[in-house]
Amino acid sequence: MVNVVIKNLTKKFGEVIAVKNLDLDIKEKEFFILLGPSGCGKSTALLCVAGLLKPDEGEIWLDNKLVTSPEHDVYVPPQEREVAMVFQDYALYPHMTVFQNIAFPLEVRKKSESEIQKRVKATAELLGISQLLDRKPKQLSGGQRQRVALGRAIVREPKIFLMDEPLANLDAKLRVRMRVELKKLHQKLGTTTVYVTHDQIEAMSIGDMVAVLKDGVLQQVGTPKELYDSPSNTFVGGFIGSPAMNMLEGNLVKKNETLMIDLGVSMFELPTWTEEKMKEAKGSKVVLGFRPEHIALAKKYKKNAIQAKVDMLELIGRELQVHLTAGDCSFVVISTPSEDIKVGENVWMVLDEEKIHIFDAETGETLI
């Protein structure tokens, strides 16, 4: 099992900087996710690791071996990297049967006929596609093609799996199922995996570690829980979690020795645990962030609550999503279906004061 280290990676396409000074440290056996909106450079970074793209600057180390470094004129071609890649469009060879597709990496490596037979069959069994071995890719469903693509990656027992949005072309239901299977497969094989996705739910559910990228710049690396509980800036806070975190801009003011945020629609008194950290920041513009599930709705006035009007109700299975507005701002609150709320009603949002986030409005950086 091997680790992957990326140091100061920069890749430009003409004038556009796709990846900028990226540093990542991927431990062995880790299921590592590169997460970000489309065009954030996550696939570019992955292709650099695979050796399919040459970066302009920086170093890539696989298994403590330097494989890419423009500065030192090091470039190991993808053929020699022992990485296997799964593509979004599966990239199955259309003229070959499933068997031939899976056998291809072994044939290229001049393995013996009997070994190829044995390994392809074992792989097909592992993925539950044994009955499809004689078919051509175009005779397969999306999910089956996905498995064949995985099979082709697994069969050669590579040191690293690279996956570029492998589930993006599947329908929602199948995507959830394959997500679980991928995770199980990873637990079984223990191969270090770098996985690119724009789907934060996917990232949160299967990733051991998640790196969030935006415009080619790394925003934060952490476990899914770390990203969720303590995002490093407004981008991560807003990107992770569904429905997204509610954010409200305001001015930090001091009134009768207590720190408050003047939100325009109301004043929010900062809880005592934040005071220590907020002292340096007072007077500046801040963003108050709170997740939809960290709000209770009250019918009557409560201290430190924000008054809002109910706009719309969405009953989604076990939860009730309440959409509210206060002034120009809109919010989403996750409540329970048993809650007696009507559209048009005025309610008070009581924030869980332990779980609020405060960001600097200028830089977006997290203050607390």
């Binding site: 399919l52 053929q79 890649m85 003229h95 690279l162």
Partner: protein
């Protein structure tokens, strides 16, 4: 598209008229080729009369060797130009390198160079290579002249082959040649048919290169031999028509065999669906 009934009848009448006008010379050619010399003079061209195989035999006597010559250099030049074009197309579409666009531009210019402008340097080059009046010389010339159009055809085809297929093959461990041989070549039946049919017909139909590069009988192409059938003083129409039909036969066969593949979309189902 479905037309209302009266319009459809009109359409068919028009189409039949066009087909008639188009096929009439061909029909005349066939009827004449089966006539004796006397019947050619005495009967109307479109009317079949006193059928005989004589003109066909006579034409084959004269055109046999040239037909074989043409078949040889056309087949070889077609195969060579298609393969070289396909390798060029692969390199220019999938292996990006500095200046590849410029090189492709030069290839494209090659398509538009008229035959006549290169005749003198061509004859000089071929004769200095010792290939004047030889099949090899014609193969070389036609191959070289076919490379630009074949390159263009294959490059445009390979451009639509998803890059991920090439990337997958690379990470699977395949080198440049293996990727060409194992991935792209098996997918190329459609452009090979298109380029092959195009090259075969244009090389087979070529007159100018054959005329200036092969004066003797060793390499005389059928196109030139056909022109020679005309004679200087008298015209044996029946023999000429039979010769023309002999000459047309290989191209017709190629179209009959490969025509249906011209439309085939082999790439269907290559990626997601």
């Amino acid at each position: 598209m479905k037309f209302p009934r009266p319009r459809r009848i009109l359409l068919y009448v028009l189409l039949i008229l066009f087909a008639f006008a188009y096929l009439l010379p061909f029909w005349t050619c066939i009827t004449t080729s089966f006539k004796t010399e006397k019947a050619v003079i005495e009967t109307v061209p479109v009317q079949p009369a006193s059928p005989t195989l004589e003109p066909w035999m006579e034409a084959l006597d004269i055109m046999g060797r040239p037909l074989l010559n043409s078949l040889t250099f056309t087949l070889f030049a077609t195969i060579f130009s298609c393969f070289i074009g396909s390798i060029n197309g692969y390199v220019l579409s999938k292996i990006r390198f500095k200046g590849s666009d410029i090189i492709f531009l030069f290839f494209s210019i090659g398509i538009f160079i008229p035959y006549q402008t290169v005749l003198i340097p061509l004859v000089l080059t071929i004769s200095r290579l010792g290939l004047y009046n030889s099949i090899e010389g014609l193969i070389l010339t036609h191959t070289a002249y076919g490379i630009p159009i074949c390159t263009l055809l294959f490059r445009n085809f390979y451009k639509d082959v998803p890059d991920s297929l090439i990337m997958a093959a690379k990470t699977d461990g395949a080198g440049t040649l293996t990727i060409y041989r194992r991935i792209l070549l098996p997918l190329s039946s459609a452009p090979f048919v298109v380029a092959g049919v195009f090259q075969f017909t244009s090389i087979w139909n070529d007159f100018l290169f054959g005329l200036v590069l092969a004066r003797g009988s060793e390499a005389l192409p059928a196109s030139v031999a056909l022109a020679n059938l005309r004679g200087t003083t008298t015209a044996f129409w029946n023999v000429q028509m039979a010769g023309a039909l002999w000459y047309a036969l290989p191209v017709i066969i190629v179209y009959l065999i490969l025509g249906k593949y011209l439309m085939s979309g082999y790439m269907a189902g290559a990626v997601k669906g």
